[in-house]
Each structure stands twice: as C-alpha cells, then as structure tokens.
C-alpha cells in the first residue's frame, strides 16, 4: 500500500472518531465529547493535508483528477471550511452535521479505485488546480450552508411544534443558523462564480471555446442560478429563515448531483473516464 493510501485510511479513522464524538455531544449532550471531537477532527484535518501533499508529490499533479481524489479533496475542503467556521461560531452541533458528510465522502472515496493514473494531457496546466480548488472551496462552503439549513429546519420545526426535546437545547438560535447560511452564501457564491469563470477561461484555452454546454457545465449553471436567485431574494425581498434554508439544501443537492452523477453517469469533458484518460 502506498504511503498516501495508508495516511488516507488513518485520516478516515480520525474523521470517524470525530463524527462519533460530535454525535455523542449532540445526542447524549456531553460537552466533553464535543471538545474531544474538535481536537480529533483538527488532527484528522492536519493528517489529511499531509495525505494530499504526499499524493501530489507521488503523482506529480494536483490530487483532484480521479473520483477517489476528488471525493477526498471535497471532504478535506468541507472539514477545513468547517474548522474555520468553528473558530468563529464554536458550534459543536454544526460539526455533528458536517463531519458525517465529510466521512461519507471519504468512505465513497475509499470505494473508488485509489491507484494513481497517468494524467490526461488536458489537465496538465495550472488552471486545473485553480479551477478545481475554487469550485471545491465553493462546494465546501455550500456544504456548511446545507448543514446549517438542515439544522434550521429541525430547530424551526421544534419551535413551531413546541417540542422541547434534547435537540432543541443543543441546536443554536434560528438567527445564528440563518446568519451562518447568509455568510456561506456570501462567501460561497463568489467562489463558485470564480470556479466557473476559471473553468471557462481554461476551456477556451483547451478547446477554443468558453462554453460548450457539456452536462456538467449546464448543471453548474443551473446550480449557480439557484444560488444567485437565493442571494438576490435575500438582499431584495427578504428571503430568509425557512425559505433560505430550503434553498440551500436544494442548492447543495444540485451540487452533489452535478458533481457525482454528472461526472459519473453522463458523458462530457468532466466525466472521470475522460478526465482520467481512459
């Protein structure tokens, strides 16, 4: 087993432990578990950085080309962005929603073929890491918005139905969740836009056209419009709270679809078959 795959598995284990600790914190209401989770997750993230670095060196290109690499990179971005949010909000409960997502991606990634393949010549440009990093950073921020959205809907439901269970005490105030949602939108949207623009420039250089309506591009545009509509609604008509939460959940599902399903099942320049050079 190569070094980076071993490191990857240890990272996955740490993410698993962190997830369990976060869930214990929320479900059994043990603060200690939340604190532990933060340390374990930070450690896992550090190891994940090393894993990606090792793979980059081993492969000689940015580790984002295969499905295994992209999923792992996506998980890394989610954990990184979450840790940044955690510095500001100190919400263990947000971790209980984000880490399972990252863990899920890691497990998927484990299932995908992990060997390093030769790089498709089309990817052999510095636009590749720039485009993919921007896009994934945007995805990760939207993943936090998704988690905050789910939390919002749960807390809103509990408040409306007047059910005061353990989760009610653990989940933060609606306003906090809504402001996380808004923050995510105001960071994620420019990131996503820059991701699309950098992709378009790269496409122009590679194929001589900015936009070619490949399924991935189409879905990215749909998702972009969705988030643009939400941002516009927020700023002008006052879409917030429940509606904003639902929008960010739909937006993220759209993202996941465009990332997983389009890359996997539909043909086009973003398909991993094409990307991985065969």
């Amino acid at each position: 087993m190569s070094v980076n795959l071993l490191l990857f598995k240890i990272t996955l284990l740490l993410y698993f432990v962190a997830t369990v600790c976060y869930l214990i914190d929320v479900l059994a209401q043990k603060d200690v578990a939340g604190k532990m989770a933060r340390w374990v997750l930070s450690g896992g993230f550090l190891l994940h950085c090393i894993t990606l670095g090792a793979r980059w060196i081993e492969a000689g290109h940015a580790p984002m080309a295969s499905l295994h690499e992209s999923l792992s990179f996506f998980a890394w971005a989610i954990v990184g962005i979450f840790l940044l949010f955690d510095l500001r909000y100190r919400l263990a409960v947000l971790g209980a929603f984000c880490t399972p997502l990252a863990l899920g991606l890691m497990i998927f990634s484990l299932g995908a073929p992990g060997e390093i393949k030769e790089l498709n010549p089309i990817l052999d440009t510095w636009w590749f890491p720039v485009h993919v990093s921007l896009a994934f950073a945007g995805y990760a921020v939207f993943a936090i918005a998704f988690a905050a959205g789910v939390m919002y809907l749960i807390q809103e439901r509990l408040l409306k139905k007047k059910r005061f269970s353990g989760l009610y005490f653990r989940l933060p105030a609606l306003n906090t969740l809504d402001s996380i949602n808004y923050k995510c939108l105001s960071f994620g949207f420019p990131l996503m836009t820059m991701g699309i623009v950098s992709g378009a420039i790269w496409a122009n250089m590679a194929w001589g056209g900015y936009w070619r309506w490949d399924p991935k591009e189409t879905w990215a545009l749909i998702t972009w419009f969705l988030y643009a509509a939400l941002l516009h609604g927020r700023l002008t008509v006052g879409w917030r709270g429940r509606r904003a939460a639902i929008f960010s959940i739909i937006g993220f599902l759209c993202l996941l679809f465009s990332f997983l399903c389009v890359n996997w099942f539909l043909s086009g320049e973003h398909s991993f078959r094409v990307l991985a050079g065969g």
Binding site: L159, N175, V237
Partner: protein, 443 residues
C-alpha cells in the same frame, strides 16, 4: 363548617375551554353575588386566571354546594353541563385546604414556583372583600394561604431559579433571536403577567419597548416605566413591522390580531422573524398565526412545555414545599373544626366551670368556718350565676348554627373567653433540616 373548591385548571382543561369559563376582572361583582345567593353557599371567592378558574366557598352541606357550584359555573357562561363536567374537579375538607395552599404556593402552577399566582389570588380575594362575599372563614383561610406561600418562598429555593412564564418566554426568544439587545418589544394590553414578561425582557437586554392599551393613559404610564413609547390602540398594527417580540394580554373577547394581518406584517418586515406571546385568555392572537413562516406564536399552554423541560431540578424543593403545606394544613384544619357549635359550647362551659372551681377552692380556703350546708349553698349560687350567664350565648349559638353568622359568633366567643383554639396564624417552626427524601430530621 366546610371549605370547598370547585374549578378547573391547565392540568385538566385545554385553553379552548378555559377561555370560555374565565371571569372578566371588570365584572366580578355579578358572579360573586350570584354565587353567594346559592342556598348551600355561605361565603364566596372566585379565582380566575389564565390557567385556572376556581370557586372557593364555605358550606354546611358539601354535596349540595358542590352540585350548585358546578351548575353555576356552566350556567353563568352559558355552557352545556356535559361539556364542562369532565374537566371540573372539586375538593372539600382537608383536600380543599391542601389544594388552595398548593395553588397559592405555586406548587400547582404551570411554572412551578412562579410568583404571579399569589398576586392573582390576592386580587381575587380583594374582589371578594370589596363585594363582601368573603366571611370569617375564607378571610382567615386565604390569609393563611398567603402566609403558607410566603413560608414556601422563604424556606425553599423553589422560586429562586427564576422560573416563570416570563422566564420561559425569554428563553424561547433566545432560541429564535440569540441576542435580544437590538430587539423591540411591543406590549398589547397592560395585564400583570404581560408587564412582568416585558420587565424580564428589558432586564435581559431589550432596549426598545412600545406599549399600547385601550386606555391610552395607561399605555403612557406603562411606557414611561419602561422608558418606552406609547402607541394608540387603534394604530398598533401599523407599528408591528418594527417589532420583534409581541406580548399580548388584553381583555378583548375576540382576536386583536388576525392571521391575515400578521401575514401582511411579516411581509412588510421582509420576513424577519417575530416572536409572539399571547398570555391572554381568551386569546388575543388567532392561533393560525403560528402557521405563518417566520412567526412563532406561543400561548400560555405552550409555555408549559418549555417549563416542563426545566422542571427536574426543582423536584427536591417542591417536596420540601409540600411538607410545609402538610404542616400548615393540620393547624388550619384544627381551627376550622373548632368552629362548630357543640365543641364551642362544651369548651365554654368547661372553661367557666374551671374558673368557678378554682375560685371556690380559694374562697373555701379562706373561709374556714363554713359548714357543709353553707358550702353547698355557695356552690349552688355560683353554678346558677354561670348557668344564667351562659343561657343566652348558648341559645344564640345553637339558633345560629344553621346560618352564616354562627362562625362569627363562635370565633368571637372563643376569642372573648380565650378558649383553647388552635390559632391558624401561629408561627410554625421552619423546616430547617431537610434531607430531600421527604423526611424531616430533627438534628
């Protein structure tokens, strides 16, 4: 003489029914008089709060009085007896005393240990004294209930952890807004609970307060107390879009805020969330308002849920409070029992006989030369005097035993002759050693 309680509370009855049997504070005279006019009822007090409606009465005929009061409650509000009956409870004798002591000590409240209920019972009592429907027994009884409540408050920490409907409201607001310091509160109506809740919000950081009331002067006065702004009642809806937290407690029979209006308000607020607390019974805000996105409407029953979640820590204190109540019941019940005619007459005779006996002994000790015949004559003389003196009071007590005046006479006789009466107002030693297991230790 017996104390009885007939009523319903948040424990037995949903708010939909409670609001139908509530008595308006502005027209207490009529129901109090009607209650007193019932043949089996000698004294009457009506406690009507948003969580309970209870009739306190004195009677010599328990069964009849309970039946009459049950019918009175249904008839007065024009309700079918069958609708109301399943929700009603009744207590008499020791149970009635225990119930009222527990209620006044806030052991039966939605929010265990909340202080409002005592004020509400005091208000109910003041209506009864104003309209002269409370007599000797209910006077004593309620004063006793107040002192029991005071003991519970000072000897337990049941109220110290600030549990009240208003506290629950602030907790909820925090779950919606997180911070309250940039929020605006509007008080619609100027009920006591509402005012208290507003005070709680202000002490938790809310800076801006609007007050509206049908009587504008009252709104002005209250607004002044909070450093807030009065708003004319007719225009309050125009101000709602700038308000984050609404507290209502008007005496209005219908909704003052409809779902349509609330929807318009939230639109004008660009969906910024609103928290509405409807403390009024009957309710002021259409319950359908809770279905509108970004508006969270809570009525008094809903707040129970919030509080129920906080209750665990208070169980031990409640146990201690129950023991205080138990202790006080015995004392009051003994006093109540002494108010019967026969034991009073017996005690009075015994008292005078004891005096006569001791004075005779002293006199005979000084007059050594008396023969048996003279002694008998003096004994007969003193006995005759006592009989003559006692004749009229005894007759009066016996004659009055079937009407409401007897309690007054009995109490007076007992006081005048210093008969052995357990005084319901005597201090009882505090429960200073309590092991939390329901046992008292005398260490």
């Amino acid at each position: 003489m017996n104390i009885i309680v007939v009523g319903l509370s948040h424990r037995t009855t949903p708010v939909e029914i409670r609001e139908k049997v509530a008595f308006a504070p502005t027209e207490m005279e009529k129901p109090l008089r009607q209650m007193l006019a019932l043949s089996a009822v000698n004294e009457a007090v009506i406690v009507s709060t948003c969580n309970r409606v209870e009739l306190y009465a004195c009677t010599r005929d328990i069964d009849n009085a309970i039946a009459q009061l049950r019918r009175f409650l249904a008839d007065y509000h024009g309700l079918d007896d069958a609708v109301l009956a399943p929700h009603l409870y009744d207590y008499y004798g020791e149970d009635a005393i225990r119930h009222v002591f527990r209620v006044s000590s806030s052991l039966d409240s939605m929010v265990l240990g909340e202080p409002q209920i005592l004020g509400q019972i005091k208000t109910a009592y003041s209506y009864a004294t104003e309209h002269k429907t409370a007599g000797l027994i209910l006077n004593r009884f309620l004063h006793k209930a107040f002192s029991v409540a005071k003991r519970v408050r000072t000897e337990t920490s049941i109220a110290s952890s600030a549990v009240s409907v208003s506290f629950a409201a602030v907790e909820l607001a925090r779950k919606i807004f997180e911070k309250l310091d940039d929020k605006t509160v509007m008080l619609i109506g100027a009920g006591e609970m509402c005012e208290l809740a507003a005070r709680h919000f202000v002490s938790n950081g809310v800076r801006s307060v609007l007050v509206t009331n049908r009587t504008f002067a009252r709104a002005e006065k209250l607004a002044d107390e909070f450093g807030g702004r009065p708003v004319p009642f007719a225009e309050f809806a125009d101000y709602l879009p700038q308000v984050d937290i609404v507290l209502t407690s008007t005496g209005a029979p219908d909704f003052v805020l409809s779902a349509d209006k609330a929807e318009e308000v939230i639109r004008r607020r660009k969906n910024k969330p609103m928290f509405m607390i409807d403390i009024a019974v009957p309710r002021d805000i259409d319950p359908r308002v809770n279905d509108i996105d970004n508006i969270y409407l809570y009525d008094v029953d809903d707040l129970q849920g919030v509080v129920a979640a906080n209750l665990k820590g208070r169980k031990k204190e409640a146990k201690k409070a129950e023991m205080i109540v138990d202790q006080e019941i015995g004392q009051f019940f003994r006093w109540l029992g002494s108010l019967d005619v026969v034991p009073t007459v017996v005690a009075l005779r015994k008292k005078l006989e004891d005096i006569r006996r001791s004075e005779l002994d002293k006199t005979f000790g000084n007059l050594k030369g008396l023969d048996e015949k003279e002694r008998k004559a003096i004994e007969a003389l003193t006995a005759a005097i006592i009989n003559k003196v006692l004749h009229q009071p005894t007759l009066l007590l016996k004659q009055s035993s079937n009407d409401a005046t007897s309690d007054g006479y009995i109490d007076a006789v007992r006081a005048l002759f210093n008969l052995e009466t357990p005084n319901p107002d005597d201090e009882i030693k505090p429960l200073d050693h309590f092991d939390g297991e329901g046992k008292r230790s005398h260490g």
